[in-house]
């Protein structure tokens, strides 16, 4: 099952390495990981998406994360109502006006934006849940050649009053 884990940790050198090391050491899988300082610059917020085989593994994973001395809070997002977003930037080949129009139409439907243009390429920006980005990629593959893709990994937050704070 797919899980999204939010981690609030000290913004200190070595903290990220400890989290990544933990996943490698215990043979846990990381699908994506994003990390950045929060509004409080002494703290970092991390979102990890992972595939686990059962609930017990997820529980152990969260306990192991919490055991790291740098980690303040750990919470799982998919158990409750939440918002998740991923940013994707991609370049597609635009050999002729027909393809250009088709891509523009698709981008509009998915609420993507074309952020850069060359005679041969469009660079498109798209945000949304992973499944939306996957669907957009599949659509583009039908009409053009995808040259390059970069995805940020998932950023997530719980809906409602619930908050992960220091």
């Amino acid at each position: 099952m797919r899980s999204i884990i939010s981690v609030l940790l000290e913004n200190e050198s070595g903290a990220l390495a400890r989290v990544v090391g933990l996943f490698a050491q215990r043979a846990y899988n990381i699908e994506s990981l994003t990390v950045s300082p929060t509004n409080d610059l002494t703290l970092s917020r991390m979102t990890i998406t992972t595939e686990v085989d059962c609930k017990a593994t997820l529980e152990q994973m969260m306990k192991q994360l919490h055991k790291l001395v740098d980690v303040l809070r750990v919470s799982e997002l998919t158990e409750g109502s939440h918002v998740e977003r991923e940013l994707m930037l991609l370049k597609v080949r635009t050999p002729n006006s027909e393809v250009r129009e088709e891509i523009k139409r698709s981008a509009d439907i998915y609420r993507g934006q074309i952020v850069d243009i060359t005679p041969n390429l469009y660079t498109i920006q798209l945000t949304g849940a992973c499944s939306k980005l996957d669907a957009f990629l599949a659509t583009l593959e039908e009409s053009s050649e995808i040259v390059e893709v970069v995805r940020s990994g998932v950023c997530g937050i719980a809906r409602g009053e619930k908050a992960l704070r220091g």
């Binding site: 090391g21 017990a56 152990q60 306990k63």
Partner: protein, 574 residues
């Protein structure tokens, strides 16, 4: 405010932390710290012959005293030589602070001479680590390191100290913090009140309970509570390899060690129990055997200070996070308050059953006219030391035999590498214990494989006169490896035979120690008597034992707890 250099701050911080002994080895990137040590009269430093031994000495010093062990080494190989020692301490939750030198900050990343990323290399086997990039950070890093190492589930902490940070020419204001708190780290000590109530109720209603006591009970100094609870409710008690001594080995309620080489009665009691109450044990694979067949009828109750240890291998029906000492005291208080007790009739019936299993006398062994049996050696050691010695061991058959045949009276008396299984641990461990308790007899029970993994420390013993007894169960082979090869590899003894074991008597004499060779059973007791009488000398007793002896009982692979080989010819599940 007092002005000190980084190097002086390291030494002063250790002093202010109350550290009296440190174990280490100098080198280029810690020369300034060593110079500061030279000028301190409060810290006693022991120079080892290999850094791994320094860590084992500090580790055993900690296991024997409950204090934090401290190590100082140089960068690069000095630091990496510590890794096995650090991993050993990590697996057994032993508090250590390891200070390692590092190349100057402006050289980090340049592959400078003796540069190793110690923080990176040690990361998987430390509880936490610090890298000091300025001298001002040193006192707070050291304070935090000792705090983290010794609280919660203890463990080793590494502090990396680049050379320029130690510079004796640059002085900074020094103040050692009185206390420290970390917003991201606050171990839970008391158990949840509701869980305590439920635990007491479960314990009172159990008809076939077993108290399963691990090393966590020793670390938490909970032996008093373990004993009180066990006696109050007449519970059968089993200790893990790491828990030996937490409950007295000669107590009538002690049913022996459990697990791979546990007693028949301990393993059968576990398998047939209706309640397993684990206090500071972690359901290690050497205890559970096949987890799918583990204790089919038992409700599992588990106390541990480390939430990750709970339900990791075996699901706990009733988990309690907290210090063993505090939680057991909470349970005792509740029992006292409610005056409730368990049903003595069903407990008596349970004891009748256990005593039937006990009657099998699974540790009985056949004596031989031609060979000394390893069991005889440990029994003799027990007799000669009256059960009062601190016993350290290496890893292998001798370790299991010592665990089975020396009933430990008290906690911190049995010092061994349980989790990591580190050969070479025994001798430096004995030295660490002897430094902590110069007036107590300390013996290292070892094998001819293990002792050669840190034999160079005989030289350290000579330099500082650390009079330990080394008791070598010499079977001229890697006994446990050979046992497995005989049992599971068609007897093919691939590289488990030592073709050239040295003359240990001569070797001891070369280091100005006393060596005694024992070839017959008649020589054994006088040799041990003499070894412990020579209180001022290191005595190396080399006992030629039966090379064909196996350790039994032994659990059958992939079986349940009760599936065991009881001898070369008998097994329980056949």
């Amino acid at each position: 405010m007092e002005m000190l250099s980084g190097a002086e701050m390291v030494v002063r911080s250790l002093q202010d932390e109350g550290i009296e002994h440190i174990f280490g080895y100098p080198g280029g990137s810690v020369l300034d710290i060593y110079d500061a040590i030279f000028q301190s009269d409060k810290i006693e430093h022991y120079l080892v012959r290999h850094e791994q031994a320094a860590v084992h000495m500090a580790d055993a010093y900690s296991r024997a005293t409950g204090k934090v062990g401290t190590v100082l080494v140089t960068a690069g190989p000095g630091a990496t030589n510590c890794i096995t020692g650090i991993a050993t301490a990590y697996m057994d939750s032993i508090p250590l602070v390891v200070l390692s030198g590092q190349v100057p900050t402006n050289w980090i990343g340049d592959d400078a001479f003796q540069e190793t990323d110690m923080i990176g290399v040690s990361r998987p086997v430390v509880k936490h680590s610090f890298s000091c990039r300025t001298a001002e950070e040193i006192p707070i890093a050291i304070k935090k390191a000792f705090y983290i190492a010794s609280t919660g589930r203890p463990g080793p902490v590494v502090i990396d100290l680049p050379k320029d940070v130690q510079n004796p020419l640059n002085k900074f204001p020094y103040e050692y913090p009185k206390s420290v708190s970390l917003r991201s780290y606050s171990p839970t000590l008391s158990g949840h009140k509701g869980q305590i109530k439920r635990a007491v109720a479960a314990l009172l209603s159990a008809k076939k309970p077993v108290l399963y006591v691990g090393g966590g009970s020793i670390i938490a100094n909970a032996s008093k509570q373990v004993l009180e609870l066990a006696e109050k409710l007449n519970l059968p008690v089993t200790n893990t390899l790491m828990g030996l001594g937490a409950f007295p080995g000669e107590h009538k309620q002690f049913i022996g060690m459990l697990g791979m080489h546990g007693t028949y009665e301990a393993n059968l009691s576990m398998h047939n129990a209706d309640l397993i109450f684990s206090a500071g044990a972690r359901f290690d694979d050497r205890v559970t055997n096949n987890v799918d067949k583990f204790c089919p009828n038992a409700k599992i109750m588990q106390i541990d200070i480390d939430p990750t240890s709970i339900s990791k291998n075996i699901h706990a029906d009733l988990p309690i996070v907290g210090s063993i000492e505090v939680v057991l005291q909470q349970m005792l208080d509740l029992l006292e308050e409610t005056k409730a007790t368990n049903d003595s009739e069903s407990i008596d019936a349970w004891w009748d059953q256990i005593n039937e299993w006990r009657a099998k006398d699974c540790l009985a062994y056949e004596k031989s006219d031609t060979h000394i049996k390893p069991q005889q050696v440990i029994e003799c050691l027990y007799k000669v030391t009256k059960g009062d010695a601190i016993v350290t061991s290496d890893v292998g058959q001798h370790q299991m035999v010592a665990a089975q045949y020396y009933p430990f009276k008290e906690p911190r008396q049995w010092i061994n590498s349980g989790g990591a299984g580190t050969m070479g641990f025994g001798l430096p461990a004995a030295m660490g214990c002897k430094i902590a308790f110069p007036d107590r007899p300390v013996v290292c029970v070892t094998g001819d494989g293990s002792i050669q993994m840190n034999i160079q420390e005989l030289s350290t013993c000579m330099q500082y006169n650390i009079p330990v007894v080394i008791l070598l169960l010499n079977n001229r082979s890697l006994g446990m490896v050979k046992q497995w090869q005989k049992m599971f590899y068609g007897g093919r003894q691939s590289h488990s035979y030592m073709d050239s074991v040295p003359d240990f008597v001569k070797l001891s004499e070369a280091y100005n120690h006393i060596g005694i060779k024992v070839d017959t059973i008649d020589e054994l007791e006088p040799a041990l008597e003499r070894a412990f009488e020579l209180k001022e000398r290191v005595v190396f007793v080399d006992v030629a034992i039966d090379p064909e002896e196996h350790v039994y009982p032994m659990q059958v692979k992939f079986g349940s707890m009760q599936d065991m080989y009881l001898s070369k010819t008998e097994r329980t599940d056949a």
